[in-house]
Structure formats: C-alpha cells, structure tokens
C-alpha cells in the first residue's frame, strides 16, 4: 500500500475563495499547458496541469472552483468540497495550496483555518501584497507561519514573483511529510457560535501579523534617536475599508436610480453589438463557402460524389461556421464583463425583479450565458443555492435565444426584409431577443405561481454575493478563454451537424439517383434543376415527409419544412443547412449561400399546388416556432443531468414544443385573417 503511494505522481490542489487571485496564480504556473476537465460524474469544471517540482520530477496541479468555506452551500460547492477532501480520480491531495488575498486577510483566513483543522498539509500563498502596501500595511510572513503552523509564501500571479519559492516549498512539504490519511471533515451542522469563535481567533492573528508601515517607520526612527524601543501598540483598526476607486465607480454603476438604467443600456448594447460587429465577418464566410461549393460542382465530374461534397459537406459546414463570429463576440463581451467585475453587480441589480417571478439574482449569469448556449448556462445554474430557484432557472433557460438560433433568424429576417432596408435587421433581431426574454419571464412567473408540484423543492431563498473590486481586464486571459469556449462549442456542435447533413443528403438523394425526365427542348441549367426536383420528390425524405405533412399543413408549410424542423433537433442551426439541402441550393453561379437559399425559398411552392411555402406569414410563424420550441437533444440531456431526472426535461420538451406549434398556428392563420399572406 505504502509503496503504491510513493510511486504515484503527487498531486496538489489549489484552493481559495473567489477573487483571491487563485486562477491568476494557476494560469501563471501552468502557462499554456492547462486543460479543463470535469470532476468524474459531475459537470463542475476544473483545470489541471503538470508542473515540474524537482523531486519527484512532476506533480499534478489542480485548480478548484472558488469557495469561501468548507461547509458547502450549493450543489456546486458540495462537489468542490467533496473533491478537495477526496478527489474522485486522484484521491486525497498530497498538499493543498490555499490562496489568500492580503488585503482581505481576515475573511480569507477562514478557509485556511478550516483546511488546517481538517488535517490537510497546507501551504499558504498570499496574493495582492501590493494592494495591502498601498493601504499602508505590511504582512509579516514569519509571524503568520508561526500563528498558523504552516508555511506561507508571498506571490504575485500577474508577474510571477514568488512562484519559484512557492513551488520549492511545495516540493519540500511533499517530500518531508507523510500524506495525512486521517482527514476530519468540518461538520456541516457547525453551529454559528463555533464560526464566530473561529473568526475571533483569526482577528487576533490579523492584528499580530499586519504591521502598519508608518508605525514601523516611526518606531525605527524613535529607536534610532533615543535608543529606547517603545512598546508601540499595534493599530486597533486594520484595513477595513474597501477599494476607494471601486466605491466611487459603484456610486455611478450601482446608483439607486441610474444603476438599473445603465444596466439595461449595457445589455442592449451587448446584444446589438453581437449583431452589428459580426455582420462583415459573416458575409465574408458566406461568400467563401458559396464560391467553394460552386467551385466543386463546376470543376469536378458530375456524379453523386461531387453533389455530396458540394451540397452535403460544404454547404452543411458553411452554415455552421457562419455564426461563429457572433459566438466569439458574445463570449468576448461576457468574459470582459466578468473580468472587470460587473457581472456580480448585474446579479445584484436584477435580484429583486427576478425574485418576484421565483428566480434569483444569481439566475442572471446563467440566463446571460443562455444567449450563447443553454448547456453551459444550465451548468452555471449550479451556483444558485436554492433548489426551487435553480430548477426554475433551468426550466426557462431554453427560451433564452441561444446562438444556434442566430443563423436561423438571420435567414428568416433576410427573407422578410426588402433589399433596401437591411438596417432593419438589427432592430427585428433585438425585438426577437426581447420577445424571448419577456416570454421566459411570463412562463417563469406562471410556473412559479401555479405549479408547486413541478418544482416541489422548497428551501429558503437567499442572495449573498461578494462584489469584487473593479479591475482592468486582462485581455490575454479573456482572448484565451474565448478561444477555448468557441473551440469547445464547435467541437460539440460540429459532429452533430456533419452527421445530420450527411444523413439528410442521403435521404434526399436516394434511391432515385437518375430520375427519368423529359429534358428535350430544355437548357442544361433547366434540365439539371428538373432532375434535382424529380430526384427529391421521389426520395426517402419525401416518403418520411408525407407522414408529417398533416402536421405541417395547418401552419401553412409542407413536408420539406417539416423535415428541416425535425433535423433541427440535432442542433437548431441544422435547420438552415437542411433547407439548403432540401431546396437543392448549390453555389452554381458563385453566389453567396444565403442569397441563393433566399432565392430558392422565394420560388418554392407547396408540392403540386401554386401556393408559395415561404410567405411573410409563414416566415414570421417559423420565427415564433424557433423562439419557443425546445429542439436540442444536448440541452435535453444536460437538463436531465442537472435536474436529476427525466421529469423536468420531458416537461420542457412537451411544454415548449407544443406551445411553439400552437403559437405558430395562431400567428400564421391570424396574419392571414388580417390579409397578410
């Protein structure tokens, strides 16, 4: 047993309260070699890397999510705390490195004390020493070591100073202590008096280890002068004033009346910029893939393989890549707001209104991420301590207009707009977003009011959140995170889209590959169009489509739209590539994909009749459908994981999809009643 332990690679867990400089330190030590992994069996993410510690050569370093105490308060914290005591994959850590913000000493020492009481090997890394010094104090590392009974290092994760010493100390501890296997868990039911006593202890320590620089100077001066060392009393009140600049900024950003206005202005700016900034890049991608598909079908021999590459692969991939600019901008702005310190303030500003409809201020960040993708958003909901509020947040998240819906909306808005009024696009898009938000609050309010059975969990609601000091954002970190998130997103959505594109192509192309049509007297262009139309009308997809035709007729559409809607269950953006495939759009004349798809849509007629499929009424109907329908298998699966059962995901699918259908029916037929075709 003991031999095994010696041979295995030691591992170090980095633990610390939120905003203690923990992740900055981790990023510095790991360089670019860190990877993000999930705790086995859970969706809580952490980063890990291998570091060189000299003897033994390497150690695993784990960055754990920020916590303020070893007594968990939410499912998120439960997983984190469990993993600190015993990591599901790696066991008990050989060493815990605890980060402590020097200017927040008394608050951050609570966790260190709890770690020591539990019996961990602890090494304390003190960050933000410059901030403490600006306040006129200095930390006496040696006294703190004596007070705590463990090693203490001063580090700066931004410049890297002190990290070599930190790693050296870690090596010494790992090699000179035996791994402590008798960890004592901090009792969850620890009564409040014990906590207050612990804090009293810490306050005593803080007083003894913080030295007022001016007092120190005076002491040395007077000692030099008179050669008599005065017994200068340590200052009574230590650093208990928050950052002055932060307070000044908050006078504006958290102003009792302006605060909320500024918040809404900032959010509107966020969403309009997603649309406007991304436009040029999206046009470029659209053009590129259009010409690429055109190049393939013009320059290779006619046959199924060429058709497959041009129509199946290139169009399919193109319709996914096209919304990448919007995702990147969304992640970029979200990262910026978080790094600056504004997200926590946003949560505070909207806590009251959200609590009226059964949500929590902490639902704000998940809801905001929901505009990128419902999956990370549902995971982010784990930070909401109250179960009922968490479940309700997860329930309405699919209504946030995720980025997968962007290409769909972009196409449909493109259809509605006359060519000379493109600028209206941003306004309509903003309207759709607003509509989604309003609907979600309405549904949340209704669910909250009427269905105690759905969300039967009932524990006390709370909102306690630290507002971090405003910081100048670290651009490299944000860019890095944006890159990783976008890549992860592509990796997740990419395969599903590819598989469905191929599957759909097969369904629409076979079995009648060479349909017999009378092409006499037709130009080459016309005859190839006729062949394509005939081929699809006799394809497997048409057979399947006839089954769903009865469902599509009441909402003024035909089976081809139906097949596209069903394929959108893989991922919503597949809708666009499906339409492109089914309506046989190729970049024949080097047109941009979207432009030629719009052309094809304008011409499309319901099979066998003269009635157009895509009219103002049906396209608005489709937009309504996409606002409500839960058409994303990955979301359903994550919802099941996060809510611990099938009840809520099934309810989400049934509620949102039937609501979508009914509202689309009302919209299409209502508009027709008013004379809008």
């Amino acid at each position: 047993m003991k031999k095994d332990v010696i041979q295995s690679t030691p591992f170090i867990t980095l633990v610390g309260p939120p905003n203690s400089g923990k992740t900055t330190l981790f990023n510095y030590i790991s360089g670019r070699n860190n990877k993000t992994v999930n705790y086995p069996g859970s969706t809580v993410e952490y980063s890990m890397c291998r570091i060189n510690i000299g003897k033994p050569n390497e150690a695993e370093l784990l960055d754990s999510p920020g916590i303020i105490s070893l007594m968990p308060n939410s499912p998120d914290e439960q997983v984190t705390v469990d993993a600190i005591y015993s990591h599901p994959g790696l066991g008990i850590p050989d060493l815990v490195v605890a980060t402590v913000d020097a200017s927040q000493l008394s608050r951050h020492l609570l966790l260190v004390k709890q770690l020591l009481l539990s019996g961990f090997n602890v090494l304390v890394a003190v960050t933000m020493n410059d901030i403490l010094e600006r306040k006129g104090y200095k930390l006496d590392t040696h006294s703190l070591e004596i007070e705590l009974g463990c090693r203490v290092c001063k580090v700066d994760g931004r410049t890297g100073s002190g990290t070599i010493d930190l790693i050296h100390q870690a090596e010494l501890i790992i090699n000179n202590t035996i791994k402590n296997y008798d960890l004592k868990r901090i009792e969850i039911n620890n009564d409040t008096d014990t906590l207050i006593d612990l804090y009293k202890d810490i306050e005593g320590i803080e007083k003894r280890v913080l030295i007022n620089s001016k007092e120190l100077e005076r002491k040395i001066k007077s000692a030099n002068k008179a050669f008599n060392v005065l017994n200068v009393e340590k200052p009574e009140k230590v650093v208990n004033r928050p950052d002055e600049i932060t307070i000044k900024i908050d006078r504006i950003l958290l102003h009792q009346y302006w605060g909320l206005l500024i918040f809404f202005a900032a959010m509107s700016l966020l969403f309009t910029s997603i649309f406007w900034l991304a436009m040029p890049a999206m046009d470029l991608i659209d053009q590129t893939f259009g010409s690429l598909a055109g190049f393939v079908s013009n320059n290779f021999s006619n046959g199924w393989l060429t058709d497959f590459i041009a129509d199946g692969l290139i169009s399919g991939i193109g319709s996914v890549i096209i919304f990448l600019p919007q995702i990147i901008i969304l992640f970029l702005i979200l990262g910026l707001l978080e790094d600056v310190g504004y997200l926590a303030r946003g949560a505070m500003l909207v806590d009251r209104p959200l609590s009226k409809i059964g949500l929590n201020g902490k639902s704000f960040v998940p809801m905001l991420s929901g505009f990128a993708c419902a999956i990370p958003a549902m995971m982010a909901a784990r930070t909401i301590p109250n179960k009922r509020e968490r479940l309700l947040t997860i329930f309405i998240l699919p209504l946030m207009s995720c980025s997968a819906r962007l290409p769909v909306y972009a196409l449909l808005i493109g259809f509605l707009l006359p060519p000379d009024k493109v600028f209206m696009g941003g306004i309509i898009m903003a309207g759709i977003y607003l509509f989604g938000i309003l609907s979600s609050t309405l549904i949340a309010g209704l669910v909250n009011k009427f269905s105690n059975k759905i969300l039967s969990a009932n524990d006390s609601s709370s909102f306690i959140l630290e507002l971090p000091t405003y910081k100048i954002p670290k651009l490299m970190v944000i860019l890095n995170n944006t890159f990783n998130s976008s890549l992860a997103y592509l990796k997740k959505a990419g395969p599903a889209i590819l598989v469905f594109s191929v599957l759909l192509w097969v369904l629409t192309y076979f079995p009648n590959v060479h349909p017999k049509v009378d092409t006499s007297g037709l130009s080459e262009q016309q005859s190839s169009e006729l062949i394509a139309t005939e081929r699809i009308a006799t394809s497997y997809a048409a057979d399947l489509g006839k089954i769903i035709q009865p469902v599509m007729t009441p909402i003024g559409m035909d089976w081809r739209v139906g097949v596209s809607l069903i394929s959108a269950f893989a991922a919503r953006e597949v809708f666009v590539s499906s339409l492109a495939l089914i309506f046989k759009v190729t970049g024949d004349n080097d047109d941009a994909l979207q432009a030629s798809l719009l052309n094809a849509m304008r011409k499309a007629k319901i099979g066998g009749t003269d009635q157009k499929i895509f009219t103002t009424a049906t396209v608005i109907g489709l937009i309504i459908f996409f606002v409500f329908a839960l058409q994303c298998i990955s979301t359903i699966i994550v919802s099941k994981q996060e809510t611990g059962g099938w009840r809520i995901p099934i309810m989400q699918v049934v509620t949102f999809t039937s609501l979508a259908y009914v509202l689309t029916f009302i919209t299409v037929n209502g508009l027709r009643l008013f004379g809008i075709a």
Binding site: I68, S69, M71, N73, S103, Q104, S106, R107, L110, N190, D191, T192, D193, L195, I196, Y199, K200, E203, K237, V239, N240, R241, P242, T246, I247, D250, R251, L254, Q256, Y257, G259, L260, A344, M348, L349, D351, R352, P353, G361, D459, S460, S462, F463, I464, L465, E466, L467, T469
Partner: protein, 73 residues
C-alpha cells in the same frame, strides 16, 4: 432592535450579533459579518433590496431580509 437593514446611505455601525435562527445565518457569518465588525451601507438598488455593505474591507451584497438578521448599534 436596530439591524443592518435600518442603516441609511453611508451610515456606519458595529455588529452586535447575528440572529442564528435565520436560514442564511451560517453563510452571513462565513462571508464576514461577525459581532464586533464595523459595517457601512455603501449601495442600495432601486428596489432597496439587495443592499451592499462594506465589511472587513470587502463589498458584500445581501438581501434586505438577510440584513435584518444582523443586529447593529
């Protein structure tokens, strides 16, 4: 009894005790509100809830009903 929820803008007070019956009492203490600490009401939102206090050199936002469990003088 005067609580943190009764403070006006910029008013400072010393915590005398925490109502341990409050469901969030443990987290309120853990985040730094303990007897003897000086607190100051720094910000209110338009709805007077939540409130932001300065305690131990940090800014902490808590709901009004949680502030009511913090007794001050």
């Amino acid at each position: 009894m005067k609580t943190a929820a009764n403070l006006t803008f910029g008013e400072m007070a010393i915590i005398t005790g925490i109502n341990s019956e409050h469901p969030s009492a443990r987290r309120i203490i853990e985040i730094g509100f303990t007897p003897g600490q000086q607190i100051e009401l720094i910000n209110k939102t338009a709805f007077n809830d939540p409130l932001a206090f300065s305690v131990r050199g940090a800014l902490i936002a808590i709901r009004k009903n949680e502030a009511e469990s913090i007794y001050v003088i």
